[in-house]
Structure formats: structure tokens, C-alpha cells
């Protein structure tokens, strides 16, 4: 199925596919800079979630989890020198559906379930499938 059928707003801005499909990792892992593990705070403890993080499928739980990695809430989706950002999408019930990570270019990168990674505008993934962006988090870029 073409991605623009799943996410019609992608059709209104540039996006590009940057990887083949993979079931090895999901958007949360990708936001956390991993590509070999499926992250989710499922109640059955089938999937990975950081040990010290709240195992809750809530926006607050996701924010607290990423705070453990040095992130803090912010309001701007624009690129800020010296910071890296992630965005959390929620559905109409306020439950997390997706995360995206900002690239140095200011664009965003996402893993779409078991589908591909894409580079996209943040609003390109808003809509029926992932809902809306409800939180932006940032942390200082760590020097290597």
C-alpha cells in the first residue's frame, strides 16, 4: 500500500523512504537511536521497555521514559542548535501511537511500524493513523 494512502498528509510535503521494511525495531526504538529492538510498555512484558521507566501506555509515561535519557519538554518543533528532539504522537484518546526523531537538517525521521524508515515533515504523519503531535522533547546533543 503506498504510504500516501496510509498517511495522506505525506502527499503535501516532501518525504523519502530511507530503509527497507523491517520487523526488527519500531518507531520508539528508532527515536531512541536503536534499530534492533521493539520498544513498547505492553502490560504482558513481551516487548522491551527500560527497566526504570513507567510501563504505561500513556503520554506521561512516554515523556517520563525519555526524561530518563536526558530529554525535557519543549514547545518548538524547529531545529535548535545544540539540541536533538523527539516528537510523540497521540490518538484522540491521548494514547501514544508513534514517535519521530529530528535530524540535523531539521527534518524528521520515523520508522513506520514494520514498514520502512522515512524522512518527512512532522505534520506529514499527522492524521487518522497516528493522530497528532502532543509532545516535543529535547536534550543537549552529546559530544562523541
Amino acid at each position: 500500500m503506498p504510504l500516501t494512502r496510509l498517511f495522506p498528509n505525506l502527499g503535501f510535503s516532501d518525504y523519502q523512504v530511507t530503509s527497507p521494511p523491517s520487523a526488527d525495531y519500531n518507531c520508539i526504538a528508532w527515536a531512541a537511536l536503536e534499530d534492533d529492538r521493539w520498544w513498547w510498555p505492553d502490560p504482558n512484558r513481551i516487548f522491551y521497555w527500560p527497566e526504570d521507566a513507567p510501563r504505561e501506555e500513556t503520554l506521561d509515561g512516554f515523556v517520563k521514559t525519555f526524561e530518563l535519557y536526558g530529554y525535557e519538554s519543549c514547545t518548538s518543533t524547529e531545529i535548535e542548535v545544540g539540541f536533538e528532539k523527539v516528537a510523540i504522537f497521540v490518538d484522540a484518546d491521548g494514547e501514544p501511537t508513534h514517535m519521530a526523531r529530528q535530524m540535523q537538517s531539521g527534518g524528521w525521521t520515523s520508522k513506520l511500524g514494520t514498514l520502512e524508515d522515512i524522512e518527512h515533515s512532522l505534520r506529514g504523519l499527522e492524521g487518522d493513523r497516528y493522530g497528532i503531535v502532543a509532545a516535543i522533547l529535547r536534550r543537549p546533543i552529546r559530544s562523541l
Binding site: M1, L6, F7, P21, A23, D24, Y25, N26, C27, I28, A29, D36, R37, W38, W39, W40, D42, P43, N44, R45, I46, F47, Y48, W49, E57, P96, T97, H98, M99, K111, L112, G113, T114, L115, R129
Partner: protein
């Protein structure tokens, strides 16, 4: 149906009506294709629909709540070999279903989320339990 059972109950005894109703049910049952699908065919159709409609999702909870996935869980133990066979061809999110049906989870905590290792753990379990 009217052409097949022309009497429409008129002038028949109660017993005849019961026989006629039973024959009608048998006729309808025979001609509904779903009832003659094999378990494998039904599984394949449901699995394909589930895969198509949830591939973009990240939440295993949402993936598992899909109606087709829930129907597969409802098939119970007989569907386990089909799930394991499907999983052996391509890693998919069958973990929730397998745990729901069997009540166990053979994946060790250190491998949570490592999809290929999780698949390997379930296939090992399936071999040990003679499902594959």
C-alpha cells in the same frame, strides 16, 4: 429457497415442518463457504488481513486488538502449528497470540523486544512441544 422448498409450511404437520426446517438449515449450512474452509485457509485469510491493516502500527496492544488477530487467538491450540510455520518464514508479531493461547512465554527477559531471538525462542518451544 422458495423454489427449493415450495411448500412454505402450509398444510404440513408439526413434524413435517420440523423436518423441513432441519433440511433448510442443512442446505444453508452446506452452501455457506466459510463453513467449508480449512483451518489453514481461514488462518491465512485472517493473517493476511491483519498484516495488511496493522503493518504501520508500533503498539503491540493495537496490533493484537485487531479483530482478525483476535479471531486467530480464538482458534485456540489447533492454530499454533500454523502460527509457528508463518513465523518461521518471516518474523511477525505473533508473540501476544502465542502467549494468550498457551499461557506461557519462552522468551527470557534479556531478549524482550529482540524480534529474531523471540521468534527463535518460540520455534524452539514449538519443536520441544512437537507443534512443528
Amino acid at each position: 429457497m422458495a423454489a427449493f422448498w415450495p411448500l412454505d409450511g402450509q398444510g404440513l404437520s408439526d413434524e413435517s415442518n420440523q423436518l423441513r426446517d432441519g433440511a433448510t438449515r442443512a442446505f444453508i449450512h452446506y452452501h455457506i463457504p466459510m463453513t467449508r474452509e480449512t483451518l489453514a485457509q481461514k488462518f491465512r485469510a485472517l493473517a493476511d488481513a491483519w498484516q495488511e491493516e496493522t503493518a504501520h502500527l508500533s503498539s503491540p496492544t493495537r496490533i493484537a486488538m485487531h479483530p482478525a488477530y483476535q479471531q486467530i487467538i480464538g482458534m485456540g491450540l489447533p492454530v499454533i502449528p500454523l502460527i509457528l510455520q508463518d513465523m518461521s518464514k518471516e518474523p511477525k508479531q505473533w508473540f501476544w497470540a502465542l502467549t494468550s493461547i498457551t499461557g506461557i512465554n519462552p522468551v527470557v527477559p534479556s531478549e524482550q523486544g529482540r524480534i529474531r531471538k523471540m521468534v527463535a525462542a518460540w520455534l524452539r518451544w514449538g519443536t520441544e512441544e512437537s507443534y512443528i
